[in-house]
């Protein structure tokens, strides 16, 4: 069965992306899924943590299920740096030979993991929404949206190792914190040459209004089907009246109707509100992965065959702009 194990590649690794920890929980989600995969392969999950003074994260990852934590702790690693991390991590991978290596598809993950995969001359799939072990071959089946989001592609990395994948935050569920947990700690003696051709001059929290999208109980999303920037902006007043936040699809961002921090989906945010109203959006998988966690989805679209209706608990076939203006009129009178 397990061809590649004959060549000595064993173990499931997870890259410890701890920036913005507490909000950013993707590493915990990957530990949880990693344990499932590892159980099927008869191996364990190791979380790789690079940085300076990273002990708290090693302990958190232990509490959330890591079997082992591999730490490279050094003052020069304080900031995430692509080239230095690639240099160090590629050496670790070549020494310890994990069969699978996962990272969250955070902005850093999406910048660092491809370069690492190229350094290691191996395959990488992006923004996976599902991961399974193939029962016959033991290969990792990596599912990502394809063809503009209409279908899912199951991808394999048959001959190269490790099998690498970035995973969209919010797809998997973390395990709860267990203070009784223990894990192995591994401190590899790796060369640290932090020579960077990219120097960080300044870093400050991003000022652009996040709108608290990820915490909101109600999210109103507008797509290109709303017709214009003015129509899209109705959503802001509705959000204010109903007590919610506004999100957008990529075509809306590309048209400059609102700022990128409101983008939902594959390359944007994932939300899990109680109620989500999605207006004038067709329902490409690249968008819907960002909203699949919503408890109740209400969709408004002119096209009765729009894929979004398969994603909705209630679908209204009609002109989104008109329906929303009528709603706004009624609410203005009452609230």
């Amino acid at each position: 069965m397990k061809m590649m194990q004959d060549k000595g590649w064993k173990g499931v690794w997870v890259f410890g992306d701890y920036r913005n920890y507490f909000q950013n929980r993707v590493t915990l989600q990957l530990i949880s899924k990693g344990k499932e995969l590892a159980a099927q392969l008869g191996t364990e999950v190791t979380v790789l943590v690079l940085g300076s003074q990273v002990h708290p994260y090693a302990m958190e990852y232990t509490a959330h299920g890591a079997d082992a934590v591999m730490v490279v702790d050094h003052p020069s690693l304080e900031n995430y740096q692509v080239e230095t991390y690639v240099r160090i991590v590629s050496q670790l991978v070549e020494s310890f030979k994990p069969e699978i290596f996962l990272a969250g598809a955070t902005a850093f993950g999406r910048e660092f993991f491809p370069r690492l995969a190229k350094r290691l001359n191996t395959g990488l799939s992006a923004d996976c929404v599902a991961l399974e072990i193939d029962a016959e071959t033991g290969f990792l089946i990596q599912s990502t949206p394809a063809f503009g989001g209409e279908l899912l592609a199951d991808i394999l990395t048959p001959k190269h190792r490790p099998q690498m994948a970035t995973v969209h935050p919010g797809v998997f569920e973390e395990r709860s914190h267990d203070p009784q947990a223990t894990a192995r700690m591994v401190y590899p003696e790796v060369d640290i040459h932090a020579e960077e051709r990219v120097q960080l001059i300044r870093s400050k929290p991003d000022q652009s209004p996040k709108g608290g999208l990820e915490e909101a109980e109600l999210v109103l999303v507008g797509g290109k089907g709303l017709g214009s920037k003015e129509n899209f902006h109705m959503l802001f007043e509705l959000a204010r009246l109903l007590g919610g936040e506004v999100g957008a699809t990529r075509p809306v961002i590309l048209s400059g109707w609102t700022e990128e921090s409101r983008l939902l989906g594959q390359t944007g945010k994932s939300v899990k509100p109680k109620v989500l109203i999605t207006a004038g959006t067709s329902g490409a998988v690249q968008y819907t992965t960002g909203i699949q966690g919503a408890e109740t989805v209400i969709a408004i679209n002119r096209d009765p065959h729009a894929p979004i209706f398969k994603m909705a608990d209630l679908g209204l076939v009609g002109d989104a702009k008109t329906v929303l203006s009528l709603l706004l009129e009624k609410l203005r009178k009452r609230l």
Binding site: M59, A63, V69, Q91, M185, V186, Y187, E189
Partner: protein, 150 residues
């Protein structure tokens, strides 16, 4: 590639030899004559480190014995004083002997120890290393079971 290994607890760890460890023991804790030092495992539900040991100075003279963070034998008149987040032991003359400090973050605790401790032959067994300690001689660097109970 060479690597060092330890254990880590989700709840509480000490920093020793620049590694996390749930608890470590130097020497034999039953010895009445020799140096020994125990930073014991802290179970979930408790949040204070448990420090015990028999400590000597650089001439090999016996200084003190301690258990559960308290001095139990004190021929030299050392003084123990509380600190925010821990405690400190000083020689009668005022020089610091041992400092124990615990930080809490999120759901876990990390204890850093600082001090320079010797055995009856005057050999260094514990000394400061960055913000923690380096230890020498026989011992178990990552305990799996709690050693001493009240």
């Amino acid at each position: 590639m060479k690597f060092r290994e330890s254990l880590v607890s989700a709840h509480h760890n000490y920093l020793v030899n620049q590694m996390l460890s749930p608890g470590f023991l130097l020497g034999d804790l039953n010895s009445k004559e020799d140096f020994w030092f125990l930073a014991d495992i802290v179970p979930a539900g408790m949040n204070e480190p448990n420090i015990h040991g028999r400590i000597f100075d650089h001439h090999g003279h016996f200084v003190l014995e301690m258990g559960f963070n308290k001095i139990t034998e004190n021929p030299e008149g050392c003084v123990i004083e509380p600190l925010a987040g821990g405690f400190q032991i000083r020689h009668a003359g005022g020089e610091p002997l041992l400092r124990v400090h615990t930080v809490v973050f999120a759901n876990g605790y990390l204890t850093r120890i600082q001090g320079k401790l010797y055995d009856p032959e005057g050999k260094t067994r514990v000394e400061p290393l960055l913000d923690g300690i380096q230890v020498f001689g026989k011992g178990t660097l990552a305990l799996t079971r709690r050693q001493l109970f009240l």
